[in-house]
Symmetry: D2
Protein backbone atom coordinates (compact mmCIF):
# COMPACT_ATOMS: atom_id res chain seq x y z
CA UNK A 1 0.00 0.00 0.00
CA UNK A 2 1.53 3.27 -1.10
CA UNK A 3 -0.19 5.30 1.56
CA UNK A 4 -2.81 4.81 4.21
CA UNK A 5 -5.10 7.46 5.69
CA UNK A 6 -6.28 7.36 9.29
CA UNK A 7 -8.69 9.83 10.88
CA UNK A 8 -8.61 11.05 14.48
CA UNK A 9 -11.15 13.36 16.12
CA UNK A 10 -9.41 15.68 18.58
CA UNK A 11 -10.65 15.20 22.14
CA UNK A 12 -10.96 17.78 24.91
CA UNK A 13 -8.59 15.84 27.16
CA UNK A 14 -5.91 16.16 24.46
CA UNK A 15 -5.79 19.96 24.78
CA UNK A 16 -3.60 21.95 27.18
CA UNK A 17 -3.88 25.42 28.62
CA UNK A 18 -2.40 26.97 25.47
CA UNK A 19 -5.80 26.07 23.94
CA UNK A 20 -4.35 23.55 21.52
CA UNK A 21 -3.42 19.86 21.44
CA UNK A 22 -0.51 19.03 23.75
CA UNK A 23 2.48 18.02 21.63
CA UNK A 24 2.85 14.61 23.33
CA UNK A 25 -0.45 13.45 21.84
CA UNK A 26 0.82 13.47 18.26
CA UNK A 27 3.11 10.60 19.26
CA UNK A 28 0.01 8.73 20.36
CA UNK A 29 -1.81 9.52 17.11
CA UNK A 30 1.20 8.20 15.19
CA UNK A 31 0.74 4.94 17.09
CA UNK A 32 -2.99 4.88 16.28
CA UNK A 33 -2.19 5.42 12.60
CA UNK A 34 0.66 2.86 12.59
CA UNK A 35 -1.52 0.18 14.19
CA UNK A 36 -4.29 0.91 11.70
CA UNK A 37 -1.82 0.74 8.81
CA UNK A 38 -0.40 -2.60 10.00
CA UNK A 39 -3.96 -3.93 10.26
CA UNK A 40 -4.63 -2.75 6.70
CA UNK A 41 -1.59 -4.51 5.21
CA UNK A 42 -2.45 -7.77 7.01
CA UNK A 43 -0.01 -7.60 9.93
CA UNK A 44 -2.18 -6.82 12.98
CA UNK A 45 -0.15 -5.70 15.95
CA UNK A 46 -2.45 -7.62 18.28
CA UNK A 47 -1.70 -10.86 16.44
CA UNK A 48 2.04 -10.10 16.44
CA UNK A 49 1.93 -9.86 20.22
CA UNK A 50 -0.18 -13.02 20.51
CA UNK A 51 2.55 -14.81 18.55
CA UNK A 52 5.13 -13.48 21.02
CA UNK A 53 6.59 -10.67 18.93
CA UNK A 54 6.71 -7.02 19.97
CA UNK A 55 7.79 -4.04 17.97
CA UNK A 56 9.23 -1.38 20.27
CA UNK A 57 9.94 2.19 19.22
CA UNK A 58 13.65 2.93 18.80
CA UNK A 59 13.39 6.50 17.62
CA UNK A 60 10.79 9.21 17.18
CA UNK A 61 10.94 12.52 15.40
CA UNK A 62 8.21 15.18 15.08
CA UNK A 63 8.11 18.57 13.48
CA UNK A 64 5.18 20.69 14.61
CA UNK A 65 3.98 23.07 11.89
CA UNK A 66 0.73 24.58 13.18
CA UNK A 67 -1.65 24.00 16.04
CA UNK A 68 -4.51 21.50 16.13
CA UNK A 69 -7.59 22.37 18.18
CA UNK A 70 -10.42 20.60 20.00
CA UNK A 71 -13.13 19.16 17.77
CA UNK A 72 -11.11 19.06 14.56
CA UNK A 73 -10.85 15.77 12.68
CA UNK A 74 -7.30 15.37 11.42
CA UNK A 75 -6.17 12.95 8.74
CA UNK A 76 -2.91 11.12 9.33
CA UNK A 77 -1.20 9.88 6.19
CA UNK A 78 1.05 6.99 7.09
CA UNK A 79 3.53 5.04 4.98
CA UNK A 80 6.32 2.55 5.63
CA UNK A 81 9.50 4.27 4.51
CA UNK A 82 12.02 1.47 4.87
CA UNK A 83 12.36 -2.14 5.99
CA UNK A 84 15.67 -3.94 6.37
CA UNK A 85 14.66 -7.35 7.70
CA UNK A 86 15.55 -6.23 11.21
CA UNK A 87 14.11 -2.73 11.40
CA UNK A 88 11.47 -0.58 9.79
CA UNK A 89 10.61 3.09 9.74
CA UNK A 90 7.25 4.76 9.28
CA UNK A 91 6.51 8.34 8.21
CA UNK A 92 3.47 10.40 9.14
CA UNK A 93 1.78 13.59 7.99
CA UNK A 94 -1.00 15.14 10.08
CA UNK A 95 -3.37 17.16 7.87
CA UNK A 96 -6.05 19.53 9.21
CA UNK A 97 -9.61 19.86 7.94
CA UNK A 98 -8.41 22.83 5.88
CA UNK A 99 -5.95 20.57 4.03
CA UNK A 100 -2.93 22.19 5.65
CA UNK A 101 -0.02 20.28 7.15
CA UNK A 102 0.00 20.36 10.95
CA UNK A 103 2.82 18.00 11.81
CA UNK A 104 5.21 15.52 10.23
CA UNK A 105 6.84 12.62 12.00
CA UNK A 106 8.98 9.55 11.60
CA UNK A 107 9.41 6.54 13.87
CA UNK A 108 11.94 3.71 13.84
CA UNK A 109 11.15 0.21 15.12
CA UNK A 110 12.69 -3.21 15.54
CA UNK A 111 11.20 -6.61 16.39
CA UNK A 112 11.67 -8.35 19.71
CA UNK A 113 10.59 -11.44 21.56
CA UNK A 114 8.43 -10.77 24.59
CA UNK A 115 11.52 -11.52 26.70
CA UNK A 116 13.20 -8.54 25.03
CA UNK A 117 15.58 -10.25 22.60
CA UNK A 118 16.00 -8.76 19.10
CA UNK A 119 14.45 -10.84 16.38
CA UNK A 120 15.03 -11.22 12.67
CA UNK A 121 11.55 -11.25 11.12
CA UNK A 122 13.07 -12.70 7.94
CA UNK A 123 14.00 -15.86 9.84
CA UNK A 124 11.21 -15.96 12.41
CA UNK A 125 8.26 -15.10 10.16
CA UNK A 126 9.13 -15.32 6.44
CA UNK A 127 5.51 -14.58 5.41
CA UNK A 128 5.56 -11.32 7.41
CA UNK A 129 8.94 -10.51 5.91
CA UNK A 130 7.39 -10.75 2.45
CA UNK A 131 4.50 -8.50 3.45
CA UNK A 132 6.83 -5.89 4.92
CA UNK A 133 9.13 -5.98 1.87
CA UNK A 134 6.16 -5.54 -0.42
CA UNK A 135 4.92 -2.41 1.35
CA UNK A 136 8.17 -0.72 2.32
CA UNK A 137 9.33 2.20 0.28
CA UNK A 138 6.33 2.39 -2.05
CA UNK A 139 5.64 5.92 -3.18
CA UNK B 1 -0.69 4.41 59.64
CA UNK B 2 -3.61 6.71 60.28
CA UNK B 3 -2.91 8.91 57.31
CA UNK B 4 -0.26 9.32 54.67
CA UNK B 5 0.59 12.48 52.73
CA UNK B 6 1.82 12.41 49.16
CA UNK B 7 2.86 15.46 47.15
CA UNK B 8 2.35 15.98 43.43
CA UNK B 9 3.60 18.93 41.39
CA UNK B 10 1.09 19.80 38.67
CA UNK B 11 2.54 19.45 35.18
CA UNK B 12 1.72 21.45 32.07
CA UNK B 13 0.61 18.32 30.20
CA UNK B 14 -2.03 17.76 32.91
CA UNK B 15 -3.88 20.99 32.05
CA UNK B 16 -6.63 21.37 29.48
CA UNK B 17 -7.93 24.35 27.54
CA UNK B 18 -10.08 25.48 30.47
CA UNK B 19 -6.71 26.47 32.02
CA UNK B 20 -6.91 23.93 34.84
CA UNK B 21 -6.06 20.28 35.46
CA UNK B 22 -8.16 17.89 33.40
CA UNK B 23 -10.42 15.93 35.75
CA UNK B 24 -9.12 12.53 34.56
CA UNK B 25 -5.72 13.27 36.08
CA UNK B 26 -6.98 13.21 39.67
CA UNK B 27 -7.66 9.48 39.17
CA UNK B 28 -3.99 9.12 38.25
CA UNK B 29 -2.87 11.12 41.28
CA UNK B 30 -4.99 8.86 43.47
CA UNK B 31 -3.02 5.94 42.05
CA UNK B 32 0.30 7.73 42.73
CA UNK B 33 -0.79 8.35 46.31
CA UNK B 34 -2.13 4.81 46.81
CA UNK B 35 1.08 3.22 45.51
CA UNK B 36 3.11 5.52 47.77
CA UNK B 37 0.89 4.64 50.73
CA UNK B 38 1.21 0.89 50.10
CA UNK B 39 5.01 1.32 49.90
CA UNK B 40 4.91 3.17 53.22
CA UNK B 41 2.98 0.45 55.05
CA UNK B 42 5.30 -2.25 53.71
CA UNK B 43 3.18 -3.64 50.90
CA UNK B 44 4.85 -2.42 47.69
CA UNK B 45 2.65 -2.79 44.65
CA UNK B 46 5.65 -3.75 42.54
CA UNK B 47 6.41 -6.67 44.85
CA UNK B 48 2.74 -7.71 44.87
CA UNK B 49 2.85 -8.00 41.08
CA UNK B 50 6.18 -9.84 41.18
CA UNK B 51 4.51 -12.38 43.46
CA UNK B 52 1.72 -12.77 40.93
CA UNK B 53 -0.96 -10.69 42.63
CA UNK B 54 -2.69 -7.70 41.10
CA UNK B 55 -5.10 -5.29 42.69
CA UNK B 56 -7.52 -3.95 40.10
CA UNK B 57 -9.84 -1.01 40.64
CA UNK B 58 -13.47 -2.00 41.09
CA UNK B 59 -14.94 1.39 41.76
CA UNK B 60 -13.88 5.03 41.69
CA UNK B 61 -15.61 8.11 43.00
CA UNK B 62 -14.43 11.75 42.83
CA UNK B 63 -15.94 15.01 43.92
CA UNK B 64 -14.29 18.05 42.40
CA UNK B 65 -14.41 21.07 44.71
CA UNK B 66 -12.18 23.71 43.10
CA UNK B 67 -9.71 23.89 40.28
CA UNK B 68 -6.03 23.00 40.44
CA UNK B 69 -3.64 24.87 38.16
CA UNK B 70 -0.24 24.37 36.53
CA UNK B 71 2.76 24.68 38.83
CA UNK B 72 0.88 24.11 42.10
CA UNK B 73 2.10 21.39 44.44
CA UNK B 74 -0.89 19.59 45.86
CA UNK B 75 -0.89 17.34 48.90
CA UNK B 76 -2.91 14.16 48.69
CA UNK B 77 -3.97 12.74 52.02
CA UNK B 78 -4.59 9.05 51.64
CA UNK B 79 -5.96 6.50 54.07
CA UNK B 80 -7.27 2.94 53.92
CA UNK B 81 -10.92 3.12 54.86
CA UNK B 82 -11.83 -0.53 55.02
CA UNK B 83 -10.44 -4.01 54.43
CA UNK B 84 -12.54 -7.16 54.40
CA UNK B 85 -10.01 -9.89 53.56
CA UNK B 86 -11.21 -9.81 49.96
CA UNK B 87 -11.56 -6.12 49.24
CA UNK B 88 -10.23 -2.79 50.44
CA UNK B 89 -11.17 0.82 49.93
CA UNK B 90 -8.98 3.91 50.00
CA UNK B 91 -10.01 7.53 50.52
CA UNK B 92 -8.23 10.62 49.21
CA UNK B 93 -8.24 14.34 49.82
CA UNK B 94 -6.43 16.68 47.45
CA UNK B 95 -5.33 19.86 49.24
CA UNK B 96 -3.99 22.97 47.48
CA UNK B 97 -1.03 25.09 48.59
CA UNK B 98 -3.56 27.43 50.23
CA UNK B 99 -4.76 24.59 52.47
CA UNK B 100 -8.13 24.37 50.74
CA UNK B 101 -9.76 21.14 49.64
CA UNK B 102 -9.70 20.66 45.88
CA UNK B 103 -11.06 17.17 45.47
CA UNK B 104 -12.09 14.14 47.46
CA UNK B 105 -12.12 10.58 46.20
CA UNK B 106 -12.62 6.97 47.09
CA UNK B 107 -11.55 3.81 45.30
CA UNK B 108 -12.48 0.18 45.83
CA UNK B 109 -10.12 -2.71 45.03
CA UNK B 110 -9.91 -6.48 45.14
CA UNK B 111 -6.99 -8.87 44.74
CA UNK B 112 -6.50 -11.10 41.71
CA UNK B 113 -4.04 -13.59 40.30
CA UNK B 114 -2.33 -12.42 37.13
CA UNK B 115 -4.64 -14.80 35.26
CA UNK B 116 -7.57 -12.75 36.53
CA UNK B 117 -8.97 -14.99 39.24
CA UNK B 118 -10.18 -13.38 42.50
CA UNK B 119 -7.92 -14.08 45.44
CA UNK B 120 -8.39 -14.16 49.20
CA UNK B 121 -5.37 -12.36 50.63
CA UNK B 122 -6.17 -13.86 54.01
CA UNK B 123 -5.46 -17.32 52.63
CA UNK B 124 -2.84 -16.53 50.01
CA UNK B 125 -0.70 -14.08 52.01
CA UNK B 126 -1.50 -14.14 55.74
CA UNK B 127 1.31 -11.65 56.53
CA UNK B 128 -0.15 -9.12 54.10
CA UNK B 129 -3.57 -9.76 55.58
CA UNK B 130 -2.20 -8.75 59.00
CA UNK B 131 -0.64 -5.58 57.57
CA UNK B 132 -3.85 -4.59 55.84
CA UNK B 133 -5.95 -5.29 58.95
CA UNK B 134 -3.59 -3.22 61.04
CA UNK B 135 -3.88 -0.16 58.80
CA UNK B 136 -7.51 -0.33 57.71
CA UNK B 137 -9.94 2.00 59.34
CA UNK B 138 -7.45 3.87 61.52
CA UNK B 139 -8.53 7.45 62.04
CA UNK C 1 -32.79 11.59 22.42
CA UNK C 2 -33.39 8.64 24.69
CA UNK C 3 -29.95 7.20 24.26
CA UNK C 4 -26.88 7.84 22.17
CA UNK C 5 -24.21 5.31 21.17
CA UNK C 6 -20.58 6.26 20.73
CA UNK C 7 -17.82 3.91 19.60
CA UNK C 8 -14.20 3.95 20.76
CA UNK C 9 -11.41 1.74 19.45
CA UNK C 10 -9.02 0.84 22.26
CA UNK C 11 -5.49 2.09 21.63
CA UNK C 12 -2.20 0.55 22.71
CA UNK C 13 -1.27 3.64 24.72
CA UNK C 14 -4.43 3.15 26.78
CA UNK C 15 -3.21 -0.19 28.18
CA UNK C 16 -1.10 -0.69 31.29
CA UNK C 17 1.17 -3.50 32.42
CA UNK C 18 -1.77 -5.55 33.69
CA UNK C 19 -2.48 -6.05 29.98
CA UNK C 20 -5.78 -4.16 30.03
CA UNK C 21 -7.01 -0.58 29.71
CA UNK C 22 -5.87 1.64 32.58
CA UNK C 23 -8.91 2.65 34.63
CA UNK C 24 -8.29 6.40 34.20
CA UNK C 25 -9.03 6.14 30.49
CA UNK C 26 -12.70 5.30 31.00
CA UNK C 27 -13.14 8.82 32.40
CA UNK C 28 -11.72 10.12 29.11
CA UNK C 29 -14.03 7.90 27.08
CA UNK C 30 -16.97 9.23 29.07
CA UNK C 31 -15.90 12.71 27.97
CA UNK C 32 -15.63 11.58 24.34
CA UNK C 33 -19.13 10.11 24.55
CA UNK C 34 -20.58 13.15 26.36
CA UNK C 35 -19.15 15.58 23.80
CA UNK C 36 -20.50 13.42 20.98
CA UNK C 37 -23.91 13.28 22.66
CA UNK C 38 -24.04 17.06 23.16
CA UNK C 39 -23.13 17.48 19.46
CA UNK C 40 -25.95 15.11 18.54
CA UNK C 41 -28.62 16.99 20.51
CA UNK C 42 -27.52 20.32 19.01
CA UNK C 43 -25.45 21.69 21.88
CA UNK C 44 -21.83 21.43 20.71
CA UNK C 45 -19.34 21.85 23.52
CA UNK C 46 -17.02 23.79 21.21
CA UNK C 47 -19.74 26.36 20.54
CA UNK C 48 -20.59 26.57 24.25
CA UNK C 49 -16.98 27.55 24.95
CA UNK C 50 -16.92 30.00 22.05
CA UNK C 51 -19.95 31.69 23.64
CA UNK C 52 -18.05 31.90 26.93
CA UNK C 53 -19.67 29.03 28.78
CA UNK C 54 -17.85 26.05 30.25
CA UNK C 55 -19.26 22.95 31.81
CA UNK C 56 -16.88 21.60 34.44
CA UNK C 57 -17.15 18.19 36.03
CA UNK C 58 -18.39 18.28 39.63
CA UNK C 59 -18.53 14.60 40.29
CA UNK C 60 -17.53 11.33 38.66
CA UNK C 61 -18.41 7.79 39.52
CA UNK C 62 -17.29 4.56 37.79
CA UNK C 63 -17.91 0.92 38.46
CA UNK C 64 -15.52 -1.38 36.64
CA UNK C 65 -17.11 -4.72 35.75
CA UNK C 66 -14.64 -6.50 33.48
CA UNK C 67 -11.48 -5.64 31.63
CA UNK C 68 -11.21 -4.04 28.20
CA UNK C 69 -8.24 -4.96 26.01
CA UNK C 70 -6.21 -3.48 23.17
CA UNK C 71 -7.88 -3.52 19.77
CA UNK C 72 -11.45 -3.95 21.01
CA UNK C 73 -14.08 -1.48 19.84
CA UNK C 74 -16.32 -0.64 22.75
CA UNK C 75 -19.72 1.00 22.51
CA UNK C 76 -20.52 3.67 25.07
CA UNK C 77 -24.23 4.21 25.67
CA UNK C 78 -24.75 7.72 26.98
CA UNK C 79 -27.86 9.44 28.27
CA UNK C 80 -28.68 12.62 30.19
CA UNK C 81 -30.15 11.48 33.47
CA UNK C 82 -31.22 14.78 34.97
CA UNK C 83 -31.18 18.53 34.36
CA UNK C 84 -32.16 21.11 36.93
CA UNK C 85 -31.52 24.42 35.16
CA UNK C 86 -28.23 24.72 37.03
CA UNK C 87 -26.79 21.23 36.85
CA UNK C 88 -27.03 18.11 34.76
CA UNK C 89 -25.92 14.52 35.12
CA UNK C 90 -24.98 12.01 32.45
CA UNK C 91 -24.88 8.20 32.70
CA UNK C 92 -22.67 5.86 30.71
CA UNK C 93 -22.46 2.15 29.94
CA UNK C 94 -19.38 0.71 28.26
CA UNK C 95 -20.26 -2.43 26.28
CA UNK C 96 -17.68 -4.82 24.80
CA UNK C 97 -17.81 -6.43 21.36
CA UNK C 98 -19.30 -9.50 23.04
CA UNK C 99 -22.27 -7.41 24.24
CA UNK C 100 -21.20 -7.62 27.87
CA UNK C 101 -21.07 -4.69 30.24
CA UNK C 102 -17.54 -3.54 31.04
CA UNK C 103 -18.12 -0.41 33.05
CA UNK C 104 -20.87 1.95 34.16
CA UNK C 105 -20.42 5.58 35.09
CA UNK C 106 -22.14 8.79 36.02
CA UNK C 107 -20.90 12.38 35.89
CA UNK C 108 -22.33 15.59 37.33
CA UNK C 109 -21.79 19.00 35.73
CA UNK C 110 -22.67 22.65 36.17
CA UNK C 111 -22.32 25.65 33.87
CA UNK C 112 -19.79 28.44 34.40
CA UNK C 113 -18.55 31.57 32.76
CA UNK C 114 -14.97 31.37 31.53
CA UNK C 115 -14.05 33.50 34.55
CA UNK C 116 -15.32 30.67 36.76
CA UNK C 117 -18.65 32.06 37.96
CA UNK C 118 -21.63 29.68 38.17
CA UNK C 119 -24.24 30.31 35.53
CA UNK C 120 -27.95 29.62 35.24
CA UNK C 121 -28.44 28.29 31.71
CA UNK C 122 -32.15 28.97 32.05
CA UNK C 123 -31.45 32.72 32.25
CA UNK C 124 -28.33 32.95 30.12
CA UNK C 125 -29.37 30.70 27.24
CA UNK C 126 -33.13 29.94 27.26
CA UNK C 127 -32.91 28.04 23.95
CA UNK C 128 -30.26 25.69 25.39
CA UNK C 129 -32.37 25.31 28.50
CA UNK C 130 -35.22 24.04 26.32
CA UNK C 131 -32.94 21.58 24.55
CA UNK C 132 -31.57 20.24 27.83
CA UNK C 133 -35.06 19.93 29.35
CA UNK C 134 -36.24 18.05 26.30
CA UNK C 135 -33.47 15.44 26.47
CA UNK C 136 -33.07 15.02 30.22
CA UNK C 137 -34.55 11.98 31.82
CA UNK C 138 -35.83 10.33 28.65
CA UNK C 139 -35.77 6.56 28.89
CA UNK D 1 23.80 26.44 34.65
CA UNK D 2 25.83 23.82 32.84
CA UNK D 3 23.42 21.05 33.60
CA UNK D 4 20.33 20.46 35.66
CA UNK D 5 19.09 17.18 37.10
CA UNK D 6 15.41 16.39 37.53
CA UNK D 7 14.01 13.22 39.07
CA UNK D 8 10.83 11.43 38.06
CA UNK D 9 9.32 8.38 39.75
CA UNK D 10 7.71 6.10 37.19
CA UNK D 11 3.99 5.66 37.74
CA UNK D 12 1.82 2.65 37.02
CA UNK D 13 -0.36 4.63 34.62
CA UNK D 14 2.73 5.35 32.53
CA UNK D 15 3.25 1.66 31.67
CA UNK D 16 1.73 -0.20 28.73
CA UNK D 17 1.04 -3.86 28.11
CA UNK D 18 4.63 -4.48 27.04
CA UNK D 19 5.36 -4.06 30.77
CA UNK D 20 7.42 -0.89 30.33
CA UNK D 21 6.85 2.85 30.10
CA UNK D 22 4.93 3.86 26.97
CA UNK D 23 7.24 5.86 24.69
CA UNK D 24 4.93 8.90 24.59
CA UNK D 25 5.58 9.55 28.28
CA UNK D 26 9.24 10.43 27.78
CA UNK D 27 8.06 13.51 25.88
CA UNK D 28 6.08 14.47 28.98
CA UNK D 29 9.08 13.89 31.24
CA UNK D 30 11.15 16.13 28.97
CA UNK D 31 8.55 18.84 29.59
CA UNK D 32 8.69 18.24 33.36
CA UNK D 33 12.49 18.55 33.25
CA UNK D 34 12.43 21.60 30.96
CA UNK D 35 9.94 23.44 33.18
CA UNK D 36 12.04 22.59 36.25
CA UNK D 37 15.20 23.79 34.48
CA UNK D 38 13.58 27.10 33.45
CA UNK D 39 12.45 27.57 37.08
CA UNK D 40 16.01 26.93 38.23
CA UNK D 41 17.57 29.52 35.90
CA UNK D 42 15.01 32.15 36.95
CA UNK D 43 12.64 31.98 34.00
CA UNK D 44 9.52 30.25 35.32
CA UNK D 45 7.23 29.06 32.56
CA UNK D 46 4.20 30.02 34.62
CA UNK D 47 5.40 33.62 34.85
CA UNK D 48 6.18 33.66 31.12
CA UNK D 49 2.56 32.76 30.41
CA UNK D 50 1.26 35.29 32.93
CA UNK D 51 3.22 37.93 31.01
CA UNK D 52 1.53 36.78 27.81
CA UNK D 53 4.38 34.75 26.32
CA UNK D 54 4.19 31.08 25.36
CA UNK D 55 6.92 28.79 24.19
CA UNK D 56 5.52 26.12 21.88
CA UNK D 57 7.41 23.05 20.78
CA UNK D 58 8.59 23.18 17.16
CA UNK D 59 10.45 19.93 17.03
CA UNK D 60 11.01 16.84 19.15
CA UNK D 61 13.47 14.02 18.78
CA UNK D 62 13.89 10.93 21.01
CA UNK D 63 16.14 7.93 20.84
CA UNK D 64 15.01 5.07 23.06
CA UNK D 65 17.94 3.00 24.35
CA UNK D 66 16.48 0.65 26.94
CA UNK D 67 13.22 0.20 28.76
CA UNK D 68 12.12 1.97 31.94
CA UNK D 69 9.82 0.12 34.31
CA UNK D 70 7.23 0.90 36.99
CA UNK D 71 8.61 2.11 40.31
CA UNK D 72 12.04 3.20 39.03
CA UNK D 73 13.17 6.74 39.74
CA UNK D 74 14.89 8.10 36.66
CA UNK D 75 17.13 11.14 36.54
CA UNK D 76 16.71 13.47 33.60
CA UNK D 77 19.76 15.57 32.79
CA UNK D 78 18.65 18.68 30.96
CA UNK D 79 20.67 21.45 29.34
CA UNK D 80 19.99 24.34 26.97
CA UNK D 81 21.94 23.54 23.82
CA UNK D 82 21.41 26.71 21.83
CA UNK D 83 19.61 30.06 21.89
CA UNK D 84 19.39 32.42 18.95
CA UNK D 85 17.23 35.27 20.25
CA UNK D 86 14.24 33.73 18.48
CA UNK D 87 14.58 30.04 19.20
CA UNK D 88 16.16 27.71 21.71
CA UNK D 89 16.85 24.01 21.91
CA UNK D 90 17.08 21.76 24.93
CA UNK D 91 18.77 18.35 25.24
CA UNK D 92 17.81 15.56 27.62
CA UNK D 93 19.31 12.35 28.93
CA UNK D 94 17.17 9.89 30.90
CA UNK D 95 19.33 7.83 33.27
CA UNK D 96 18.10 4.76 35.18
CA UNK D 97 18.83 3.91 38.80
CA UNK D 98 21.64 1.66 37.54
CA UNK D 99 23.34 4.68 35.94
CA UNK D 100 22.62 3.49 32.41
CA UNK D 101 21.25 5.67 29.66
CA UNK D 102 17.61 4.93 28.84
CA UNK D 103 16.73 7.65 26.37
CA UNK D 104 18.13 10.81 24.83
CA UNK D 105 16.09 13.65 23.41
CA UNK D 106 16.17 17.12 21.96
CA UNK D 107 13.41 19.70 21.62
CA UNK D 108 13.24 22.97 19.69
CA UNK D 109 11.12 25.93 20.81
CA UNK D 110 10.25 29.48 19.82
CA UNK D 111 8.47 32.26 21.69
CA UNK D 112 4.94 33.44 20.87
CA UNK D 113 2.34 35.87 22.08
CA UNK D 114 -0.79 34.21 23.43
CA UNK D 115 -2.47 35.24 20.16
CA UNK D 116 0.05 33.03 18.35
CA UNK D 117 2.39 35.61 16.83
CA UNK D 118 6.17 34.87 16.88
CA UNK D 119 8.09 37.01 19.30
CA UNK D 120 11.68 38.17 19.56
CA UNK D 121 12.60 37.74 23.22
CA UNK D 122 15.58 40.00 22.65
CA UNK D 123 13.23 42.91 21.94
CA UNK D 124 10.28 41.98 24.13
CA UNK D 125 12.16 40.90 27.27
CA UNK D 126 15.84 41.98 27.23
CA UNK D 127 16.39 40.66 30.78
CA UNK D 128 15.16 37.18 29.77
CA UNK D 129 17.33 37.39 26.68
CA UNK D 130 20.37 37.91 28.91
CA UNK D 131 19.42 34.95 31.10
CA UNK D 132 18.95 32.69 28.10
CA UNK D 133 22.23 33.80 26.53
CA UNK D 134 24.04 33.15 29.77
CA UNK D 135 22.80 29.57 30.06
CA UNK D 136 22.75 28.45 26.42
CA UNK D 137 25.55 26.26 25.21
CA UNK D 138 27.31 25.88 28.55
CA UNK D 139 29.02 22.54 28.80
Amino acid sequence: MAEHCYKHKVQYYETDQMGMVHHSNYIRWFEEARVDYLDAIGLPYKQMEEEGIGSPVLEMHCQYKSKVTFGETVTIRVRMKSYTGLRFSVVYEVIGEDGKLRCTGESGHCFMTMAGRPLSIKKAKPEWHELLLQHAGEE
